[in-house]
């Protein structure tokens, strides 16, 4: 007999896997991006089931609101490049299938060695509020994760500057391009 959480899990898993399968097989890039959003939403459901509500909301806020929108914008920017009639896969796509299957098999084989596979999740000792506070404290504690915290900001700064340098042709050439 399945419990409610198990049913929710199975539905979410089915949706996530189906959507991610569609992402990699869909011919139209717009549709692939929409399927990607669905897959990411499925992962957010898993986060909720794992009592990581904060990460679930972050998943929606970062992936669905920000990254997916950016991907869709770029899909529209590079619209003329590949139509849906064009060949979508490399000539060696069968090798990719083999690699994926090998990867899956290997991962499953490896994970069977993991401890506590069938175990129940231990009860959380802290409330969800305390967990979040703990996370905030850990991020800025000199003895703990201050380096990743600050490095993340530097990384984001680098990505911002780098992307602008790479993608921004400058005002002049942009105008020329629009006219052509």
């Amino acid at each position: 007999m399945l419990t409610l959480t198990q049913i929710v899990f199975l539905v979410a898993a089915a949706i996530t896997l189906l959507a991610s399968f569609m992402v990699v097989t869909c011919r139209s890039m717009v549709h692939a991006a929409l399927w990607l959003i669905m897959a990411l939403a499925g992962v957010a459901v898993f986060f909720v089931l794992l009592n990581a509500g904060f990460l679930a909301v972050v998943q929606v806020a970062v992936y669905i609101d920000a990254i997916a929108i950016m991907i869709i914008v770029v899909v529209m920017l590079t619209r003329h490049s590949m139509g849906i009639q064009d060949r979508q896969t490399n000539k060696t796509w069968w090798a990719a299938v083999i690699a994926a299957l090998l990867m899956f098999g290997g991962l499953v084989l490896m994970f069977t060695q993991a401890p506590l596979l069938g175990a129940e999740a231990p009860a959380l000792t802290m409330g969800s509020e305390a967990l979040l506070e703990e996370l905030g404290l850990a991020l800025v504690d000199v003895d703990r994760y201050i380096v990743p915290f600050e490095v993340a900001s530097v990384l984001l700064l680098t990505a911002l500057v780098g992307s602008i340098i790479v993608a921004w042709p400058g005002r002049k050439s942009q105008d020329l391009e629009d006219q052509s």
Binding site: V57, V60, D65, I72, E129
Partner: protein
């Protein structure tokens, strides 16, 4: 009877619970059923609220513009919206050729879902909140932005150039204004030390956050106005430029749903402003009588909503480059500055035991002076540029638009 009048929400809930458990259902199932009932009651109430909102908005805007507004159907035209709905219901649903059918039909639902979903975490009264989660504020950001997705999907799937252009303009604007909105949302979280909306409301018990952080309140209000696409940021339906924007190819109630979403969104941001900065249900004796709390909440929300309509009636639409300049060159830096100021002021107040109210107000006043000076400097620069251009008799290139002007 007195118990009912004090706290009708808990009273009704426990009545329903005891009745259902009396039928022999498991407690878990009863909880679930009550949640189903609650969700549908909340959703239906919100959708029904749109009737009043549209009527109120048309009436008030008409008064501002010295007109009468709807006055034919029913007393003061209250049933005008119902008549409009009946008209929409009998309209043919046209799917344009070449449309992407599933996303095309999904988009209006997404637009409504995003708005309704936000209400799950808004505490309506001391004992009445949909879902008390500890990440309420971030949830609002996350779910609210799904509406952006709905607009984008609508624009992309209707196979129309105007729709596409309108959608992407809107998305660019919404995405831009989400930045200061999120930064402004950090300030109430910082002041109350929690992302739970209930805790935020309780933390405003002596002084509302609008006094401690007026800049944050203003930035949140303005940027969420833009996020919703309300006047003066209503570029998404700039009739003169891109016909009607992203919903040009929608007809009947599918179009109506975008409309519902829009009006409800304006009301939602009023409720959010009231909750986060005006103290939500806080008021005299609200803790004792939850019904009074609901009353305060509705009063505060209505006041903010009136301001929203007032703004719509008063301001002309802002040009798109001005909108972007206003965001990136004034509001976002200001939001970052006010976050830093709030953080330092709050910490200094607790570390050194200085009066919290005084230091926050002082810091914000300081920030206000600096902003004013910066705007003035910028305006002077812009004026001198314009003067130089007119002296040279060259056609002034319009690119020299200044922020905040």
């Amino acid at each position: 009877m007195v118990a009912f009048l004090n706290d009708p929400f808990t009273w009704t809930g426990s009545l329903l619970r005891s009745w259902l458990e009396g039928l022999g259902l498991a407690p878990d199932l009863v909880t679930f059923l009550l949640q189903v009932v609650g969700a549908f009651v909340l959703g239906t109430t919100l959708l029904m609220l749109t009737f009043i909102l549209i009527w109120a908005e048309r009436k008030i805007v008409a008064r501002i513009q010295d007109r009468l507004g709807p006055n034919r159907v029913g007393p003061y035209g209250v049933f005008q919206t119902v008549a409009d709905l009946l008209k929409l219901v009998t309209k043919e649903l046209i799917t344009p050729t070449g449309a992407d059918v599933i996303p095309y039909n999904l988009a209006p639902l997404l637009a409504v879902m995003a708005v309704v979903g936000v209400w799950a975490v808004i505490p309506l009264a001391p004992t009445l909140i949909g879902a008390s989660i500890n990440v309420g504020v971030l949830y609002i950001v996350a779910v609210g932005a799904i509406g952006t997705l709905g607009i984008m999907v609508a624009g992309m799937s209707s196979n129309n150039k105007y729709a596409l252009l309108g959608a992407f303009r809107t998305v660019a604007m919404m995405v831009s204004y989400a930045v200061p909105m999120m930064i402004a949302l950090l300030i109430p979280v910082l002041l109350s030390g929690s992302m739970d909306m209930e805790t935020i409301v309780e933390a405003q018990s002596p002084i509302a956050f609008i006094i401690l952080a007026p800049f944050a309140a203003l930035i949140f209000f303005v940027s969420s106005l833009a996020e919703v696409g309300r006047a003066p940021f209503d570029l998404l339906e700039a009739e003169s430029e891109i016909v009607a924007g992203f919903h040009i190819e929608y007809s009947g109630l599918k179009f109506g749903m975008f409309f519902v979403g829009e009006f409800l969104h304006a009301f939602t941001i009023s409720a959010l402003t009231a909750t986060l900065f005006l103290g939500g249900w806080q008021g005299p004796w609200a803790e004792l009588y939850p019904l009074l709390g609901l009353f305060y909440f509705i009063i505060k929300t209505s006041i903010v909503y009136f301001v929203v309509i007032w703004i719509r009636g008063s301001f002309p639409r802002i040009r798109i480059d001005h909108i972007n300049n206003l965001n990136w060159k004034l509001i976002t830096p200001l939001a970052l500055a006010s976050l830093i100021v709030a953080a330092i002021a709050e910490k200094v107040a607790t570390e050194f035991g200085i009066n919290r109210l005084g230091i926050h107000v002082g810091a914000n006043a300081f920030l206000f002076m600096i902003t004013l000076a910066a705007i003035r400097l910028n305006a002077r620069g812009a004026r001198s540029r314009v003067k130089a251009n007119s002296v040279n008799k060259s056609v002034a290139a319009s690119s020299g638009s200044s922020p905040g002007s």
